[in-house]
């Protein structure tokens, strides 16, 4: 499309070379290790990458080979991706917390000859499945702890491989291979998390990644000097675009936390200027703040609530550039000095210029909270097949109920059944070894089905998403059934972690609810409610009362929308266990697998529609180490207040 804009910069290695030339001495990567932030400049990072790329050649990597990468976010693993590209290979990042068989499937499907693994945990997983993988040749590991005694005939440490690479004198071959990379060559292959069926390998070209990175960086004025914290799974397309695509395009610095547990502290130390988080991270932060405020002294509480109220009123106005009076500005300044500033600092968000959330709908009060703090938090809508961006919210047009306007270069159309289609320079090349799925997702003109149902709001041009297109159904009465819409409303309550609504082809809707242990546990503690397990707490009558009240409130708001009034929840139960990816009930990105939940808990659904007031159930659970166990529980089923106004009027 805009070949001139990216002329000569047809690959990530080409962007890297440009960054070395322009920002050679600036920090490119940082990682906290041994309690100190270690940093690498662009020039240093490039040298590390070259050494590893040459190392891959010494192992016999051929042009077009797949190199899988798995582990937590670390600079060395990002380098491995670029090194793979420099060696003419295609990086395939995998989810670090995936189970062995999921990794086996991906490795087998892509035919990876080499794997770069973060540590012993990852190596062990691959060792378990090695017999099934005939093409797998060599494992390169980063952290050698615990691996000394392993058979090293097909295993090398990252540092040793770099050393071998430096000594090999293969730099000419590396330069030749990376210079040959064109805009249509594969840049990366990412496995989709697979809410349905087997994961699919989405192939993105250099053009996809670079065009998208360029457009999105310009949209938000990202530049060298910005800071991001790389803490989301490397196998997720968003992280690839933020931490590699945009970082390489703009030359900003990627910071890796010390360990997943220290993310909050590290966030605070780095103070990123560009921050991305799924709604659950913001939810968790807000829940923590609220819990701590509950425990604070009376004066502090008063101060917090008074000035947050001012923030809520004036903060968003200032962000959106709307007129504010001098008095209001003064008040906000005071609030900022007393409450908002220190709070932002504690959360590590003092310097955030652009913040994004995506993946799931975000609750309005969470959204408003961050906007009140003066954080430019926006929503975007995207998917792997689009190289992330489909729509995003421009500065000054931020709302919690839309996902924004089409990103630069993206065209949208809405099909008859409400499904959203898009076409853009970021549209993926193909699903690897799956022509059938490619054809059914992407038509000849390049339009891609998102699988989501939505509509474009008149006047503003913003896209609003209702639900997954395949989940939008009809109830027995013919009324529209949009479970996600209702579930999201439920999940906006801090007490509710997850909700699954049923009702397709039924007379009325019912729901499963997961309580949030942090929020409800804290509430229980403050109210002197003793409990010994998640299960016991989930069935406590007072917890059920609270949830019942939440459901009634949601029903009231659902009833307000004429089209969706049929989706009110008549009966519900609180589940005795958290839905979990290890049990297959959720994807690794924590999206509910509706079908599996329906099958697994069929007895509970029958009970919901069978009019019982409680049900005894046995559930199989999988522990983290793969062992299985069984939990039994008797769950209470409750009726919720339903708004009948609409019905009466209809009659």
């Amino acid at each position: 499309m805009t070949a001139t804009a990216t002329s000569g910069l047809n690959s990530i290695p080409a962007l890297l070379a440009q960054n070395v030339a322009q920002h050679g001495a600036k920090a490119a990567y940082r990682e906290k290790e041994f309690g100190i932030w270690q940093s690498w400049t662009w020039a240093e990072a490039a040298a590390e990458i070259d050494a590893l790329a040459a190392g891959f050649l010494t192992l016999g990597a051929n042009v077009g080979d797949h190199i899988a990468i798995t582990g937590r976010n670390r600079p060395a693993l990002y380098w491995a991706m670029v090194a793979a590209q420099k060696a003419g290979c295609v990086p395939v990042p995998l989810y670090a917390d995936a189970a062995a068989e999921e990794i086996a499937y991906a490795l087998d499907h892509c035919g990876a000859r080499f794997v770069v693994a973060g540590d012993q945990e990852q190596v062990d997983k691959i060792a378990d499945i090695r017999d099934q993988l005939h093409v797998l040749d060599h494992i390169v590991y980063l952290d050698g702890r615990g691996l000394r005694k392993y058979d090293h005939s097909h295993m090398t440490s990252y540092a040793d491989l770099q050393k071998a690479g430096r000594e090999s004198g293969q730099m000419d071959e590396i330069e030749k291979r990376s210079a040959a990379l064109g805009p249509d060559d594969k840049c990366v292959m990412l496995y989709t998390s697979g809410t349905t069926g087997r994961p699919k390998g989405v192939v993105l070209s250099n053009r996809n990644v670079i065009e998208t990175s360029k457009n999105s960086a310009e949209f938000d004025h990202l530049k060298a000097g910005d800071e991001v914290l790389a803490y989301l799974p490397m196998a997720w397309v968003g992280d690839f675009i933020f931490s590699i695509g945009q970082a390489m395009w703009t030359g900003f610095c990627v910071n890796c936390p010390e360990s997943p547990d220290t993310m909050q502290t590290d966030l605070r130390e780095i103070g990123p200027t560009y921050f991305f988080a799924p709604p659950r991270v913001f939810e968790m932060q807000l829940t923590n703040v609220m819990i701590r405020m509950e425990d604070a002294g009376r004066f502090k509480k008063w101060l917090f609530h008074k000035y947050m109220a001012i923030g809520r009123e004036i903060g968003p106005k200032i962000l959106d550039g709307k007129p504010v009076t001098g008095m209001e500005r003064l008040q906000y300044r005071l609030a900022d000095w007393l409450v908002i500033g220190p709070l932002k600092n504690t959360l590590g968000l003092s310097r955030v210029r652009v913040g994004y959330t995506a993946g799931e709908a975000i609750g309005p009060e969470i959204f408003d909270f961050y906007r009140a703090l003066g954080i430019n938090l926006k929503q975007l809508y995207g998917q792997t097949e689009a190289t992330v961006f489909i729509t995003q919210q421009p500065d000054g047009e931020v709302r919690s109920d839309t996902v924004g306007v089409p990103s630069p270069g993206v065209e949208l159309k809405i099909a008859e059944n409400g499904e959203v289609f898009y076409r853009s320079p970021g549209v993926f090349v193909e699903y690897y070894k799956n022509a059938e799925s490619t054809a059914s997702t992407k038509d000849a003109e390049g339009w891609v089905a998102t699988g989501d149902a939505g509509f474009i709001e008149e006047g503003t041009g913003h896209l609003r998403i209702i639900d997954r297109a395949k989940d939008v159904g009809k109830m027995a009465s013919g009324a529209l059934f949009a479970p996600k819409y209702v579930e999201n409303k439920l999940k906006f309550y801090p007490d509710i972690l997850e909700a699954v609504v049923f009702g397709a082809d039924r007379e009325y809707c019912t729901a499963f609810i997961n309580i949030d242990l942090t929020a409800v546990g804290n509430w229980a503690e403050r109210n002197n409610i003793a409990y010994s397990s998640y299960q016991e707490l989930s069935q406590h009558p007072r917890v059920l009362d609270t949830i019942q009240a939440h459901v009634a409130e949601v029903n009231k708001s659902v009833a307000a929308d004429e089209m969706l009034a049929g989706c009110q929840i008549h009966r519900f139960l609180v589940l005795h266990k958290e839905l979990d990816a290890d049990d297959g009930e959720m994807t690794r990105t924590r999206k509910v697998r509706r079908r599996i939940v329906e099958e697994k808990f069929a007895d509970l659904i029958d009970a919901l529609y069978g009019g019982k007031s409680e049900i005894y159930t046995e559930t199989e659970v999988t522990y983290e180490d793969g062992r299985k166990g069984k939990i039994t529980a008797t769950l209470a089923i409750r009726d919720a207040a339903v708004e009948t106004a609409g019905k009466v009027a209809a009659e």
Binding site: E33, K149, E258
Partner: protein
């Protein structure tokens, strides 16, 4: 029981060297009570050595003799080929013997980092005044010590609680911090007194992994007391069994498991 002191390699590839600590005919009395009765046992370089036995068998007393907290009335303690005269615990610590305690003994008000730093005390050479002024050598020393400590924090995966006061931590983590402090001394011999007492299964598994990793990565010789037989049999190279202050068995886990006297002691056969 293996009497050879030839170095050998274990099935999992670790090298067990010569005798590091040799306890010869130790007898320890408290007034008229004989806590340890004429026990000899050795600990070889690089091995994980367990001491087991019913309550009151004298296990902790044995550990306290090794660590210099008690001086036995009879017998000799040989460490690294030299006979050790009666010593104070801090002197023993300087020899390269560190320990953890059955009841956690950390500084509750101090952070994890500061607690672990105290483990470096035996490696601090500069005097108190220099440390107070904190210039030159004292500063360099602190930096070097901090580096060692940070490696241990990384090793035991306690980065997230580095700045947390110990008093706020759950029990399982406190045990891990105590292990970190002991490791900070870079001991030749590490004594663990019931490292897994009161832990749940997951915490025990974590702790077992750390013990094996410490032994493997740092080559630290480990002597431990533990009640969980599954753990002991899985972890250790050799096991000493004590009962009423006597040694009733010594050998590999398999040998000990089939030892008649040991079975009696654990099943509770009446003593004449």
């Amino acid at each position: 029981m293996k009497d050879t002191v030839e170095p050998y390699t274990t099935p999992d590839g670790r090298t067990i060297g010569g005798v590091l600590m040799d306890m010869r005919n130790i007898t320890l009395r408290f007034g008229g009570v004989e806590a340890i009765k004429d026990i000899s046992l050795n600990i070889r370089e690089g091995e994980i050595r367990a001491i087991i036995g019913p309550n009151g068998a004298g296990k902790s007393s044995m550990l306290n003799v090794i660590s210099g907290f008690y001086n036995p009335q009879e017998g000799e303690v040989w460490f690294r080929g030299e006979k050790r005269p009666p010593m104070k615990p801090y002197q023993v610590a300087r020899l390269g013997i560190a320990r953890t305690f059955q009841n956690i003994a950390l500084f509750e008000g101090m952070t994890v980092l500061d607690n672990v730093m105290t483990g470096r005390l035996t490696h601090m050479k500069s005097n108190m005044l220099a440390q107070a002024i904190w210039r030159g050598k004292a500063e360099q020393e602190e930096v070097a010590n901090r580096e060692v400590v940070e490696k241990i924090i990384d090793f035991l995966e306690i980065q997230a609680i580095r700045k947390t006061p110990v008093g706020r931590l759950p029990y399982g983590l406190k045990k891990r911090v105590e292990l970190a402090r002991a490791l900070a001394a870079e001991p030749k011999l590490l004594l663990l007194d019931e490292p897994m007492a009161g832990m749940n299964v997951e915490e025990k598994e974590d702790m077992s992994r750390f013990i094996l990793d410490v032994n493997d990565e740092f080559g630290t010789t480990i002597a431990l007391i533990e009640h969980d037989m599954g753990v002991v049999m899985d972890l250790s190279d050799r096991v000493v069994v004590m009962d009423y202050g006597r040694k009733i068995g010594d050998g590999t886990p398999d040998e000990v498991r089939n030892n008649e006297q040991v079975i009696d002691a654990y099943l509770g056969v009446a003593h004449d």
